[in-house]
């Protein structure tokens, strides 16, 4: 599905990613853990196409296509989705209005017929139920005045609407109560399929009880310093990251 090779990225002259290598096959779920500031969100943003980050070396292929050449919206059309760690509030822009336009553009990009108004509404209803987002919120401005948990649910709602092939969830579990966590996990599990891949960024093993990853990676100073099975998450929760740093695994 996605191949990240020796990816280096910087912002305003600060080197944040220092050679990330990662390959995720279709149907797989990978988790990335790592200390604050290690570059997890940066990796997510670079994959989604945020312009502020400059890719200085390396390449990323999504289903054989060079991802780094694409604009963020083209990446969305190609099937990339990022659930933001900090979803943006956009006053005056209605959730529904923007999703409708976004879906229309994606369909247009793919050369497919747009959804009819009826189909769209049906999808909205179904997915709202899936993530437990009240219809009241869906009609408000994007994330404006949403609680932390509501914002995260809204991210999953949008993911369900856009039906991506490769979804990155950046700390979608942070700030969720246990019920919300289950709902979000259910949402992901229902979308899971042999054609889809997920990259979960998290600090907590807890999420991985509900969404079971195939691999767990540790990102440290912009590099993946360890990869292991789902049990690695438990070990990290117990021991923290210091033992990895001390190992001197840096390249």
């Amino acid at each position: 599905m996605i191949k990240i090779k020796n990816l280096h990225a910087e912002i305003e002259g600060n080197k944040i990613l220092n050679g990330v290598n990662l390959e995720i096959n279709a149907g797989e779920i990978h988790a990335i853990m790592g200390p604050n500031g290690s570059g997890k969100s940066t990796l997510a943003s670079v994959l989604a196409g945020r312009e502020e980050y400059e890719v200085t070396r390396g390449e990323v292929e999504l289903m054989g296509e060079n991802l780094l050449d694409l604009e963020p919206n083209e990446r969305a059309a190609a099937g990339v989705f990022l659930a933001f760690q900090y979803p943006v509030e956009i006053p005056g822009v209605s959730n529904m209005n923007f999703l409708k336009t976004a879906l229309k553009s994606i369909k247009e990009f793919k050369g497919e017929k747009p959804y009819t108004a009826k189909e769209f509404l049906q999808m909205v209803k179904k997915n709202q139920e899936l993530v437990g987002l009240s219809g009241r919120l869906a009609n408000r401005s994007v994330n404006e005045g949403f609680s932390g948990g509501e914002k995260k649910r809204n991210e999953i709602f949008q993911m369900a609407m856009l039906d991506p092939k490769f979804a990155i969830l950046d700390e979608t579990d942070s700030g969720l109560d246990i019920d919300a966590l289950k709902t979000v996990a259910d949402g992901v599990n229902q979308l899971k399929s042999p054609e889809k891949s997920f990259l979960l960024i998290t600090h907590y093993q807890r999420l991985l009880d509900y969404i079971v990853p195939d691999f767990v990676h540790v990102l440290h100073k912009g590099q993946i310093v360890k990869t292991g099975p789902k049990e690695l998450a438990l070990e990290l929760e117990e021991k923290g990251y210091d033992w990895l740093k001390e190992d001197g695994v840096e390249a």
Partner: protein
């Protein structure tokens, strides 16, 4: 004034004075002559004048402009507002066009050209014209007063509430054209009027020098929405001078999506208790456009509310000016005055000079004013694009959201939709000046 400047001024005025219009009924000719005298004692403003600090009119004065007829369009397609039922008065280069205009008769509401009004309602004109706009100290108002040819008189008798709005369409065509629309809107006690005024033009260089006088009697309501879709070489100076009596509500909008040099002045004298004054506007410039909004709300008496909200979006090398002055006079207690100007600069070369000003001489008042200028929200843009929106769509959506507040007081939905669509179209044009 230096010799050289006097010569320049005389030469410029000579162009404007060709084929003069004279009035024969009432005091109107006297008013013209008074204004004509004032012109000679006044100077054209320079950047040294506080009120014109950021707006240079020298470029206009260098050119030769004349009153001359223009091409009359075959139909109103492209000028009319879809689904907006209204009386329509069409002017081409300041000359009234009867064929394209239509007015439905209503009890107590009189909608006619100023020229016609000067004959049929000369008493109304004599009573109000020249009493609200200041032709004694403002040279452009003096020029309009002395040289105007026509315009519109809308007169609502006591208790007459217009059932539909009036749409004034001002089209300017050709090279080197000038005209000076002069409009008088009178709403007597308990009367109600809604007026939309749209400006359109071709690519020719022109100079429009307009004046509106608006009188609101006790408990009268007037809504005046101005839409400037001027051509790209249009110079347009427009003064709207308003007098509010007790319990009246004045609402105005200024939506500028065209033109080269635009200067809109609104001066509201609030001289009765329990009045509402709402001034809103959005201006969207690119290239080297210069758009200037100057407003004065003068609270002379207690117990009034004023609400002012202007938004600017500037790309390319455009300059915007916002100067909003609110006076609260001594003893004008319990005034609520809100004023805001927010701007988005799409490029590094765009400039805004924003100066909200409060001058308060009373002590029991609630006033707030603020001005912000920033870039387009990059995070929001990325967020929208990451969901699949094209960059242009995302920018348009953000621009529309930003300007939406200024449409809050546009009462007709068809009009509000029309203005939104213009804003979106303009946003599209400015997209390529986004850097």
């Amino acid at each position: 004034m230096s010799m050289e400047n006097t010569e320049k001024k005389d030469k410029f005025l000579a162009g404007l004075m060709k084929n003069p219009t004279a009035d024969t009924v009432g005091n109107q000719q006297q008013l013209r002559e008074e204004a004509y005298k004032a012109i000679h004692s006044l100077n054209f403003p320079t950047l040294k004048d506080e009120r014109w600090k950021y707006t240079r009119v020298a470029g206009i004065l260098k050119k030769d402009f004349e009153h001359k007829p223009g091409d009359v369009p075959e139909s109103l397609t492209g000028f009319e507002i879809p689904d907006y039922k209204s009386d329509v008065l069409v002017f081409v280069n300041g000359i009234f066009n009867n064929e394209l205009s239509h007015v439905e008769k209503q009890n107590g509401i009189h909608v006619l050209t100023l020229a016609q009004g000067k004959v049929e309602h000369y008493d109304v004109i004599d009573k109000w014209m020249g009493t609200i706009a200041d032709h004694h100290s403002h040279i452009f108002t003096a020029m309009n007063t002395a040289f105007h040819k026509s315009g519109v008189l809308i007169y609502a008798e006591k208790k007459a509430i217009a059932q539909h709005p009036v749409h004034i369409i001002d089209i300017t065509n050709g090279e080197g054209v000038t005209h000076a629309p002069r409009n008088l809107f009178v709403a007597e006690d308990d009367a109600g009027l809604k007026i939309t005024h749209s400006f359109h033009g071709d690519a020719g260089e022109n100079f429009i020098n307009g004046v509106n006088e608006v009188y609101l009697g006790r408990h009268a309501e007037v809504e005046y929405q101005m839409i400037q879709q001027n051509g790209k070489k249009s110079n347009h100076i427009h003064s709207t001078d308003v007098y509010q009596s007790e319990g009246s509500t004045f609402t105005s909008g200024a939506f500028t999506v065209g033109g080269k040099l635009i200067r809109n002045e609104i001066n509201v004298s609030v001289n009765g208790e329990n009045c509402e004054t709402r001034l809103n506007g959005s201006f969207m410039g690119g290239d080297k456009h210069h758009f200037d909004n100057h407003t004065i709300i003068d609270h002379l008496v207690p117990l009034c509310n004023s609400h002012e909200n202007y938004k600017g979006i500037l790309g390319g090398k455009a300059t915007g000016v916002f100067n909003g002055k609110v006076f609260v006079r001594k003893d004008a207690q319990k005034i609520n005055a809100f004023q805001s100007n927010q701007n988005i600069l799409l490029s590094d070369d765009a400039v805004i000079n924003s100066k909200p000003e409060l001058e308060i001489y009373a002590d029991d008042v609630k006033c707030s004013h603020g001005s912000t200028t920033g870039q387009l929200d990059e995070e929001a843009l990325f967020y929208l694009m990451s969901r699949g929106m094209k960059k242009t769509d995302a920018i348009n959506l953000l621009v529309n959201a930003f300007t939406a507040e200024t449409l809050e007081y546009v009462s007709a939905e068809a009009l509000s939709n029309y203005i939104s669509a213009l804003i979106e179209k303009r946003s599209d044009e400015l997209n390529n000046q986004y850097a």
